[in-house]
Amino acid sequence: MLKKRIIPCLDIKDGRTVKGINFVGIRDAGDPIELAKKYAEDGADELVFLDITATVEKRKTLVDLVEKVAAEINIPFTVGGGINSLEDVEAVIKAGADKVSINSAAVKRPELIREIAEQFGSQCVVLAIDTKFNGLEWKVFVKGGREETALETIDWAKQGESLGAGEILLTSMNNDGTKNGFALDITNEVAKSINIPVIASGGAGAKEDFKNLFQNTEAGAGLAASIFHYGEIPVPELKNYLLNENIPVRYEN
């Protein structure tokens, strides 16, 4: 049976992790490689690195980081944040990333999805959608959630699939940072309307939130940042809990 994936997300700025605490056995929580290795050893199923660097040196530091991560990590990882062109994609894929996630650039020019899929395969294109409920409908936001677009979330997810995206990373801005659980309704609506996997993001605060996600939606994966970084919920504890709740997860002893 295909397992439900648990995906820690690391926010990166100037080659360093933004949040995080010093776990036992980690000398420097700001070192993305150390943190990534720790997660991989703990049984994380994949990792996402989200680069929030805003400088012109961005590409070079990101590529350097991707090379180091690829040399050390034995699970798949995705790189996102400010990937704007086919050249950006090529740089991180060649450095060893398994997938790239694109967001604002795809809204601006949807053909980018098709171009990446044709050159590198659909399996490496993760379409990241930031969504927010405005009281009437779930709209797509870009530029780190600062700008509303005219796009309706389910329509955009369907369009992304038809252009060749291999996965949708759906972040509910209404839930993000609340720790009150994932946005189950929109996650399931999106997952039911497309035939590619959906990664749910935004709102994870407790182990039960993952159980609710996997029991009530067709999402294939749950992504979270702070609960893992701050050691609130260690990955093995979460997986052990989910196993006891009869949710299929990978658990290596």
């Binding site: 994936r5 398994d98 291999g166 996965e167 994966a221 990978r250």
Partner: protein
Amino acid sequence: MVLAIIKYNAGNIKSVENAVKRLGFDCVVSDDFDVIRSADKVIFPGVGEASSAMKYLCRKGLDKLIISLKQPVLGICLGQQLMCKFSQEGDTECLGIFDCEVKEFPAEDKVPHMGWNEITGLESELFQNVKENSDVYFVHSYYCEPTKEQVASCNYIKPFAAAMNKDNFYACQFHPEKSAGIGEQILKNFLEL
């Protein structure tokens, strides 16, 4: 031990190279006939589309080289599919090492089959010290039909061949280079054959 990784137009070679190095083995990434022919082991990796990959291999003469190899060869993912007889992806005549056809998953569940799934019926030296029902990482939209040459099986939408072996040719649909400790054990088993 000289390990050659076949260089061609289907990506993901870097991941395989990194994984082999983490295990303490050296390797050379090459499309040079002499280098590949004289290597002790050969890995035939691949992520991409079958027809364009086959076209490239034929243009470079790598198709004939691969089927003539006598040392242990490991095909990974698209590598396994290209070692079969025929693929529905782009209606492609493949290398024909395995008597097996590659078909597209019906859209009865999410496609691609992406993520960790368990392998069963393990019967090859590739799986020494690997337990039945171990989880490994898959990403694919086409699958190899069950065959007498399979040495591991997986089930997603329908049962398919997760690994195969015939003489010196080995192959797996999953990515050992991305399958954590289990994947490392499988790669190590191949490298120590």
